[in-house]
């Protein structure tokens, strides 16, 4: 079920009302969350429900046995079982064809003929997200950071929790699971805040991302026929598309969770206002970055030894996590190359505060740094969006041709006025809300209610006027 669908508009109030009617029965409420989550997921394809259930059962019992058998060897073996099961599922469904095709090509290159056949596999939506979420549970139990839960229903609800099941934020068991143990209290202000965050998330997805997607697709799909400036425009549109799409999803997920009395972690913190790439990576897809930091970077040695290698590994794995394609791996590598010089110069933690804090506008230096960082990130996005590495390389070569300084072609220019105005509105609102968890959290908060409501009405109107008439899925569903 898509957040931006009529189905969800009907689904959410029904689930909300039943959920709060069950408030005095914690077990029943958790069971209801699990059932609703399975309905939500099954709406897309019920055949893959068994995968979630399988992961849930395996990790529940593995964690339970870790507590039962205290010997380090047994615990390690159990952890390996969990990693093998979860990453095995991910490997089969997401990476099998990639490996087969690359092995075939590698052996062909060496002069051998190997015929490993690829499979026609459907990638289960959200598998990368819930797999990492359950892994965090078994790893934390293994590290004795978390007591295994004795309650299967709570655990099933934690794994399948519908707001963040298919595209995150990837929650840690230490944060989300305990919220299923205690009864939730409905808080009016929290719920209203949640609704506000959902609204902003819908605007980001349906207005910004989907409209930018139109032009990004138009330009990327015919990149050979456009000038450098038009290609640059296409790359910028894609940068906003992916941000609007993914952070919009996260906002809707977090906002929806708040309606049910849950608090999820912040996943995006205005990354395009970052002053360097290190700051960007502290603000972009935070739940994944911190996951890799805690469960891969630190075990590899973190900043204590082999830090350059560790950073490189993290970025490559992060790229590969996004998709079984070399373009994602190169995207990760480019970001590593941006990041490593900052790390070596010990400048990776220079910009930890909010940009232009307590000021209305950034200083010229801050503005320069923001634009530079955005440009670097956008160039890397070309690899993320392109069909192949050669497509990305040609795109970038053509983008940096002499006509980069000319105006984009008329056929594109004449179409984009509305989206340019909408992007300007979006950037201004995000700028003024950059201190908060999401842009409109405190915007106009102290103003007279009708003024605030008029602003929300304007946002809803812009959604109604500029949304696509076809439901468009979120980009990150494919990951």
């Amino acid at each position: 079920m898509l957040f931006n669908s009529i189905d969800f508009v009907i689904f959410i109030p029904i689930v909300f009302l039943i959920y709060w009617l069950l408030n005095s029965h914690l077990r029943a409420q958790n069971l209801f969350v699990a059932i609703s989550s399975y309905v939500f997921y099954g709406w897309w394809d019920y055949r893959f429900l068994f995968l979630i259930f399988f992961s849930t059962v395996v990790d529940f019992y593995i964690a339970k046995n870790m507590q039962k058998y205290r010997g380090p060897k047994v615990r390690k073996l159990l952890l390996v079982c969990s990693l093998f099961t979860n990453l095995g599922l991910l490997g089969v469904f997401k990476y099998y064809n990639f490996f087969v095709e690359n092995f075939n090509q590698a052996f062909t290159f060496l002069g051998y003929h190997v015929n490993g056949s690829s499979l026609n596999i459907v990638l289960p939506v959200g598998i990368s997200f819930y797999t990492f979420q359950t892994l965090s549970y078994t790893i934390d139990v293994y590290r004795s950071k978390l007591q295994p839960t004795p309650n299967f229903v709570s655990f099933a609800a934690f794994v399948s929790f519908f707001p963040q099941l298919v595209a995150g934020p990837i929650e840690r068991a230490t944060n989300l699971l305990p919220q299923f143990y205690k009864s939730r209290k409905f808080e009016y202000t929290n719920a209203v805040d949640g609704l506000r965050q959902i609204l902003w998330g819908l605007f980001k997805k349906m207005v910004i991302a989907d409209n930018c997607a139109l032009y990004a697709d138009m330009i990327f799909n015919n990149s050979e026929s456009y000038s450098g400036s038009t290609l640059a425009l296409g790359a910028v549109f894609f940068a906003f598309q992916i941000y609007g799409d993914f952070s919009g999803y996260s906002d809707i997920a977090i906002g929806t969770s708040r309606l049910f009395g849950f608090n999820l972690m912040q996943n995006f913190a205005f990354p395009y206002f970052s002053r360097d790439v290190a700051e960007f990576w502290r603000r972009w897809h935070i739940s994944l970055s911190t996951w890799f930091r805690d469960y891969l970077y630190i075990p590899l040695g973190g900043s204590r030894y082999h830090k350059v290698r560790n950073v490189f590994v993290i970025f490559l794995v992060s790229g590969f996590w996004h998709g079984a394609n070399w373009t994602f791996i190169i995207w990760g590598a480019i970001n590593a190359l941006y990041f490593i010089p900052l790390l070596l110069a010990k400048r990776n933690r220079v910009n930890t505060s909010i940009v232009a804090e307590n000021k209305r506008l950034p200083s010229p230096k801050e503005l320069f740094n923001i634009i530079t960082t955005f440009s670097l990130v956008t160039i890397a996005w070309v690899f993320f969006r392109a069909e192949s590495i050669s497509h990305a390389l040609i795109f970038i070569r053509d983008m940096f041709s002499l006509d980069l300084l000319s105006l984009p072609v008329y056929s594109i220019r004449k179409l984009i006025y509305p989206i340019v105005v909408l992007l300007a509105f979006f950037v201004v609102v995000e700028w003024f809300g950059r201190k908060d968890k999401y842009a409109i959290e405190n915007l106009l908060k102290n103003k007279f209610t009708p003024i605030r409501w008029a602003f929300y009405t304007l946002i809803i109107f812009l959604i109604g006027m500029y949304m696509q008439t076809e439901e468009t899925p979120f980009i990150y569903f494919q990951f």
């Binding site: 009016y188 209203v192 008439t469």
Partner: protein, 309 residues
């Protein structure tokens, strides 16, 4: 028990909803009045020849022939040619008109027009269409009533919601639109003013997927005509052979239409030239219209002698 806070939230949402409806409508009117139509993708308020046609239909009654259908109807049946042959005809075709909209139009105008024969132009694409384009055309061109409201809710498309709301508000302030359209001819026909010819471009293969709602509406129309004792024939107007052969399941479509009554497929009756008689892949130019209409009048003269006024 539901807590008081939840009840308060629901109350607040309801109050906001009222505020939202008023505010949304005002913004719709404001944006619609200030911005150019091309900058408002989900609002259509530009009226064209269908507006003139629906103005005229209100002044028309008791016709011999009533043409229904899409642009193949209003660009294919030249009412001026029929008038010369002593047929009083009215063409109620409109852009991409699908059975969903045809049903609304016959509910509104059939009684008044009281045709002796309905010529229902059927082409495969309208049966595959969701009907949004035609729905928009109808909302902006005609007075809206419960039929159009029902259509808007059934079709669940934001463009239709916005356009309906806008038209409703606009009608309060500005009841009539001034439309100048030289191509529109009395009786509902729309002519191609300058000579134009199809360039012979190859057409992509198309599999017609029938939209269930269109089939249902189509059946309702036929039932309604039968109930009112009005004769009808189903006609497929000519398209280029390239277009016609691009439908991979045209035989299934032809069989389906033949199962509903007398069906005349002029793609298999006339032998027109793709680059001489058409201005694009599926619309006749005036040369083609003349040939087609002459053949069709011949057919009427031979088979429906009692139609003429």
């Amino acid at each position: 028990m539901m807590s008081i806070q939840i009840i308060n939230l629901i109350k607040r949402i309801l109050i906001f909803s009222v505020f939202l409806i008023i505010g949304y409508t005002l913004l719709l009117f404001l944006f619609g009045s200030v911005l150019k139509p091309k900058h408002l993708p989900n609002l259509v308020y530009k009226v064209g020849h269908n507006y003139l046609r629906l103005q005229e239909v209100r002044q028309t009654s008791n016709v011999d022939l009533l043409f229904l259908g899409s642009s193949h109807a209003y660009r294919g049946f030249d009412t001026r040619i029929f008038r010369v042959s002593n047929y009083k005809a009215f063409n109620l075709g409109s852009s991409s008109q699908t059975p969903i909209q045809t049903l609304i139009l016959i509910d509104r105008y059939l009684k008044k027009l009281n045709p002796k024969l309905v010529v229902f132009e059927v082409n495969p694409m309208v049966f595959a269409s969701d009907g949004v384009e035609s729905g928009l055309d109808l909302i902006v061109s005609d007075n809206n009533d419960r039929h159009s409201l029902k259509m808007v809710f059934n079709q669940k498309n934001i463009k239709l919601y916005n356009t309906y709301l806008y038209t409703l508000v606009n009608s309060i302030f500005n009841d009539t639109a001034y439309v100048k359209n030289k191509a529109y001819k009395k009786g509902g026909y729309v002519a191609k003013l300058k000579p134009a010819y199809f360039n012979g471009e190859e057409q992509d293969k198309t599999l017609i997927t029938f939209n269930e709602n269109q089939i249902k509406s189509f059946e309702t129309i036929l039932r309604r005509l039968n109930k009112n004792g009005i004769n009808y024939i189903l006609v497929q107007a000519p398209v280029t052979s390239l277009k016609y052969n691009s439908y991979s399941n045209i035989k299934a479509f032809n069989s389906l239409m033949a199962s509903y009554g007398d069906y005349y497929n002029y793609n298999e009756v006339l032998n027109l030239n793709d680059t001489i008689d058409f201005y694009d892949s599926h619309h006749l130019n005036q040369t083609g219209v003349n040939i087609f209409n002459k053949a069709f009048i011949n057919f009427l003269d031979n088979n429906f002698q009692d139609l003429k006024e």
